[in-house]
Symmetry: C2
Subunit: 464 residues, 2 copies
Amino acid sequence: MKKPLLLIAFAAFALSPASAFQTSQPDPAALRDAALASDTVAWDLLEGLTTEVGQRMAGTEAEARARDWAVRRLTALGFANVHIEAFDMPVWVRGEERAEIVAPFPQNLVVTALGNSGATPVRGIEAEVVYFETVAALEAAPDSAVRGRIVFITHAMQANQDGSGYGPFGAPRRRGPSVASRKGAAAIVIRSIGTDYHRNPHTGVQTFDEGVRPIPAGALSIPDAEQLQRILRRGQPVRMRLVLTPRNIGRRQSGNVVAEVPGTDPSAGVIVIGGHLDSWDLGTGAIDNAAGVAITTAAAHRIMQAGRPRRTIRVVLFGAEEVGVFGGNAYFAAHRNDGNVVLVGESDFGADRVWRMTTNLAPANTALGDRINALLAPLGIVRGRDRANAGADLGAWANAGIAAIDLNQDGTRYFDYHHTPDDTLDKVDPAQLRQNVAAWTAVLAATANAPERIEPAGVAAARQ
Amino acid sequence: MKKPLLLIAFAAFALSPASAFQTSQPDPAALRDAALASDTVAWDLLEGLTTEVGQRMAGTEAEARARDWAVRRLTALGFANVHIEAFDMPVWVRGEERAEIVAPFPQNLVVTALGNSGATPVRGIEAEVVYFETVAALEAAPDSAVRGRIVFITHAMQANQDGSGYGPFGAPRRRGPSVASRKGAAAIVIRSIGTDYHRNPHTGVQTFDEGVRPIPAGALSIPDAEQLQRILRRGQPVRMRLVLTPRNIGRRQSGNVVAEVPGTDPSAGVIVIGGHLDSWDLGTGAIDNAAGVAITTAAAHRIMQAGRPRRTIRVVLFGAEEVGVFGGNAYFAAHRNDGNVVLVGESDFGADRVWRMTTNLAPANTALGDRINALLAPLGIVRGRDRANAGADLGAWANAGIAAIDLNQDGTRYFDYHHTPDDTLDKVDPAQLRQNVAAWTAVLAATANAPERIEPAGVAAARQ
């Protein structure tokens, strides 16, 4: 499938179909093609954030440095109204993490704590491992089979283009710890929710159900999870020592960084796009989500450079997405009644090429959707039938009935690196990054300058 | 290149050219093809050693468990004269390891100590980083530019089929620490000697020159090394905190595990093959070198199952290769004057397919070389012009003039995993592992039953 798409993308340089509906504004196709050919702003932002800040765990001083970095960069790029909107949140930080098979075959395993994991004593705990293939199997087991033991759950997630496995196959992480705790488990370790074969475990948030005691909850790298399965298959009791010493350090400040490209027509509404500034602490958050920060900022910057658009474009770089969408929720709570947001869209699925656009535009905006589609097709982007959900940080707006556009990136290798130490700059392909910038540039050019009103999608339409 | 080779390999099933020179012994081509089609012994050994022992650092109790495991398995497989030949050696073990950029952009880097690294205090050291592109550039620098600093050296190793980059590009690891220490450096970190982009650093042995003070010497993962280069390129002074606390724990016991397929003709000499049983401590030593242990043992086992060969085949699973070829050296010292070894060959380059055979056979054994070549060609194996060197553990024999055969494996991805936590079972392709067993089976069938005398290669021939 890749080759035809690439050919189409290259053909874009030659074709550049003129925008038929608006001649007084910059040609969206020309803006798109310039981004595809030569954008450097996104790479500079991506390289800068991952190098000059690195990891930026929500609520920590590293995330604060990321906000300062963003304010400096956005200001230097010429955006208007650059500011931080602060909020408070509870902060959990990682401690020591070690896992060791004590018997029958002594050896170390690579483990990392899941978000909000409880802690073992400093010296760790030692217990027998009890294995379940699924959360359902754990739920079905008698408490006596689990009590005092270290639960181990695996899964069979496979890589695919749309990342749709992450929902169902993520259950061991999202639900496993609460179920295990309720049954009296001493701790839980899961096979990392990922698709690679490297000894880099995948962290990620989980939240203990109300009233459930937090137990130590870790993820083994996938090679280590398979090693543990092989050891268990020998049929002898398996004893594990586990050291996980994360801490809750109380409420700290996080914040969203906001910047604008002011529009000429205040009555036409505001378009809100963005990504999230925070990352997990293991890698440098290149694909998750310095890429989204870089892509949406670079696209907005291209529109700004081409002349003042009709609608204001607002870039929001959200804080504290990974640990519970605190920034997105704070932003929605603060601005839901502003009454001027007409369209939202987030980039938060890495930097591999956009292959599909989905929208939830109102029927009255069918022509606008068609124009966007025509602009994206030369980039090898197809139109999907799913309804846009606007990502974690802006999803509340789509759910509330605001129009949204999603540009779906190829997720085939996304879960090889997602939430691991391996989420680093080298995983981003500059050419595919430029394709992302080109796609968002096209979307912004078409929507910010659209002469028609952008209608609310409506709550029913938003809820698929 | 792969496809034609594969076609030839598959064609082997159909062709099975009859061995023209010896009708009373099992047909070597048939033995070869059976291994290619259905060998399970090698996988069982590989899976067993990496699962039931895991890492097996030289001179540690883990390596002792590996010897016990090997004695049990070799005995169960029916080998004769299974025994351990013990030797003593100095043992170095890893401690804590952390690296952190303190300024200008605070962040953690992934580091591991190189073999024989000196130690920092428990709290670490903090110093400015001074960067050199090569060891030669470090050597050319004035001592004043290095004194009290943490030296950082990079390299430009690329993956290739024959692994020939490992020699020249390995200089930062092998020579960098001694050169840095002599110039008064506080410590040295190198870009890992490898070809991957994962945050798994590559350890490996280095030995401080006589009289040189051991300094802390670590390897950064390749993404971390590139991150450090990007940070240095900003032009501000870069300060690093480094914690490496390895220890020398004195002399401990290691050993070689020996097993035989007894021959019918003691006057025809002994063929010695093998791999090394020890591994680095970060991974489970699947490609380095449970694979070589498994391949050579499985091939010898196939010859044994087919009937008693003319020559004795001796499988030696060497101890303590990684940290200085202690096992190979001990074996040569103990047996160099036995006067019965006529041919040697080691498998120690992973488990990807054999693509080339090289020999150092004496001119009188040209016909034998041709017969081996004819048996290997259907496996997609070409004949190389280099002279065989018999690997690290048996190289002393080839250097001393004994005939040797090398089966060179495809090394394109070998240095992605070599000496890293990522050297685990999942990196081995069972089909390519069987091709290795088939190739060694063919070599053993041809040589163990060769009717002619196997001549010494001669010292001149051995030294290329």
